[in-house]
């Protein structure tokens, strides 16, 4: 009973100090530093005889029994460095091949059988590691590194995994078929292992790995694009914040060689009418016309006006402010700006002013309103402004001009 109790207590201690023990195993060569932070873990592990040291001032070392357990349970960690693991096992295997040949030469059958079994175990470990190693990459692909929130760190991790996959790939390629055949010689036991089982595992591993590498590279491209877009949006946000009212313009561009992103057409409406001249369409058109007439002529406009509930009388002296017309307001500002403003050559394009204002008004209405307003200015004010019209000949009526734009300029006489 007491023995069971002790074992349970040891397992509980391992669970309690699991983080510190794993840290020591994975990153500190199985050593636990002798300092105040580790007093608890050291005392507990010493009590359960899981650490050892030679001198009192030396760091404590995890005992082999514990290290073997940790080796076993941190297999996932080993997979991360599978290329090194496979490499080490391959070296072990090469040593076993030498022993095997020696035992065979000396006709030491018992030793030969023992070494055969060791070779089988070592090779099965290699094959298992190859499978595990390539499986690990699929978890990176499915997660897309989304568990890392920072974009730069995510890209760095992706690079790191690609590099690791590259190392593994290089290791796979180092298993040359000719070398394996040379290694096997004429021995049927070695031939079966080296020319059948190992190449099959390598081929499968390489296939999975090349798929994983391709996917990882695609992820990297996507991450880089995400990073570029994020910086693009950030750059614009800062630029708008530092340059109030900034509106990009391409008016200075000739557009003879238009950049592809800008080349987008204006909407082209396709309008078709029913063919009233084709008798074969008559029936369809009649049906359409009948369904279109949803309201009888006698029913239109006969609704009585809703009766007024209350009547409000004006209070003496009260006045309702009239809403300012935004177009009038804009024209007034524009004229004031041309006369008073310091605008380079003292000129401004009417259409640019409209687009900068954000008013939803078509160009024709805007230009005619602007012209009418300038015409209605007092003669003194009017003389301060020169209007230049941009026009083009009407393609149908050659003596007509179509106005396509106006430039307002401060008159030379009015300049100081």
């Amino acid at each position: 009973m007491a023995r069971t109790h002790d074992a349970q207590s040891t397992l509980r201690a391992l669970a309690t100090y699991g983080d510190a023990i794993l840290e020591a195993h994975l990153n500190r060569g199985n050593r636990i530093a002798l300092n105040d932070d580790n007093v608890g873990v050291l005392e507990t592990l010493e009590h359960h005889r899981l650490v050892w040291r030679l001198g009192d001032t030396e760091d404590l070392q995890l005992k082999n029994v514990l290290v073997r357990l940790l080796d076993h349970i941190t297999e996932s960690e080993r997979r991360r460095f599978a290329s090194a693991q496979v490499d080490r096992l391959w070296s072990d295997l090469n040593r076993l091949f030498v022993d095997y040949r020696e035992a065979k030469k000396r006709a030491a059958f018992t030793d030969k059988l023992r070494i055969e079994s060791e070779i089988k175990e070592c090779l099965s470990e290699i094959i298992e590691d190859i499978r595990n190693a390539t499986d690990t990459f699929s978890s990176y692909i499915s997660s897309g590194f989304s568990y890392i929130t920072d974009m730069d760190l995510r890209i760095r991790k992706n690079h790191e995994v690609i590099e690791r996959a590259g190392q593994l790939n290089a290791l796979f390629e180092s298993f040359n078929t000719q070398d394996l055949a040379d290694q096997a010689g004429n021995d049927p036991f070695l031939k079966r292992l080296l020319l059948k089982y190992l190449p099959a595992a390598l081929e499968q591993g390489q296939k999975n790995l090349s798929y994983a590498l391709n996917q990882l590279r695609l992820t990297l491209v996507r991450l880089r694009e995400d990073q570029r877009l994020s910086k693009l949006v950030g750059g614009f946000e800062s630029y708008f914040a530092n340059n109030r009212g900034y509106i990009p313009s391409i008016d200075d561009m000739d557009l003879g060689h238009c950049p592809a992103p800008l080349n987008k057409v204006t909407p082209f409406a396709i309008i078709a009418r029913g063919d009233i001249y084709d008798p074969t369409d008559d029936e369809d058109l009649i049906a359409l016309a009948q369904t279109a007439r949803t309201l009888g002529a006698d029913q239109q406009g006969t609704e009585p006006a809703a009766a007024l509930q209350t009547v409000e009388f004006d209070v003496a002296g009260a006045s309702d402010p009239e809403e300012e017309d935004p177009v009038d307001e804009l024209i007034e500002q524009l004229v004031q700006f041309v006369v008073d403003g310091d605008i380079g050559d003292g000129e401004i394009d009417a259409l640019e002013a409209l687009s900068g204002s954000g008013l939803a008004l078509d160009a024709a209405t805007w230009l005619s309103t602007l012209e009418a307003q300038i015409d209605s200015l007092a003669p003194n004010d009017q003389s301060q402004i020169t209007v230049e019209y941009k026009s083009q000949l009407n393609p149908l009526y050659k003596d007509n001009l179509c106005i396509t734009g106006m430039t307002l300029r401060r008159s030379n006489e009015s300049r100081i």
Partner: protein, 212 residues
């Protein structure tokens, strides 16, 4: 001669200036997947000085002018550019707001879902995000007199839907799918960035984003 409704709808949408992607016009996008169809549509458009183009991310189709030496084509391009340029600040502010709300490291991309409820929940719990939404609703593209966050957000999402950047999905009307018009906008922004020499933002410059 037999009519082809899909061809008609595809060409009409392209000529109307719409951007065809698998999220905005799935049927038309699938129709345009094969090379012979692309050629047929392109041949038709070329007779009208137009051609079929793809965004740089290859996720959407749009119609471009084939010959830009003609003044009407140049005017058309300028007009289209002005429409984006006038609203660019508002669109950038929206993108940044969504990045902050979703704590995402990248702006919206085609096919992404936007849930009004989730956005509203996060915005209404952070005064700084509420202020950003308010500021957004002072821009022409999203202008509204609504003073509540829910109303403001609704106006923003509705206007983006009208402009073709979002498409409502499902029956609730509160889940939206981002279209590939964003990809086209990013292409235009990349051009403006190069043309106007706007510096890229570096992640270190934005502690606010990290804090949120």
């Amino acid at each position: 001669m037999q009519t082809n409704p899909l061809f008609e709808r595809t060409v009409s949408a392209l000529l109307a200036g719409e951007i065809i992607c698998e999220y905005s016009h799935d049927e038309l996008y699938n129709y345009l997947l094969t090379q012979p169809v692309q050629q047929k549509v392109s041949d038709f458009l070329q007779q009208m000085n137009r051609t079929l183009r793809q965004t740089s991310s290859h996720d959407a189709w749009l119609c471009s002018y084939q010959d830009l030496s003609r003044s009407d084509a140049k005017d058309g391009v300028r007009q289209q550019f002005r429409e984006v340029a006038n609203h660019l600040e508002a669109l950038v502010q929206f993108l940044r707001l969504v990045m902050m709300v979703e704590a995402a490291q990248r702006p919206i991309s085609a096919g992404e879902h936007l849930r009004e409820g989730k956005l509203l929940e996060r915005i209404s719990t952070a005064p700084s995000l509420e202020a950003k939404l308010r500021s957004l609703c002072e821009k022409d593209l999203f202008r509204t007199k609504r003073s509540d966050s829910a109303g403001q957000l609704r106006v923003v999402l509705e206007n983006l839907t009208k402009a073709g950047y979002l498409k409502p999905i499902g029956t609730s009307g509160s889940v939206f799918l981002a279209t590939a018009k964003w990809s086209w906008l990013y292409d235009v922004m990349t051009f403006i960035q190069t043309h106007e020499g706007i510096r890229e933002d570096s992640a270190e410059d934005d502690p606010q984003l990290r804090i949120v």
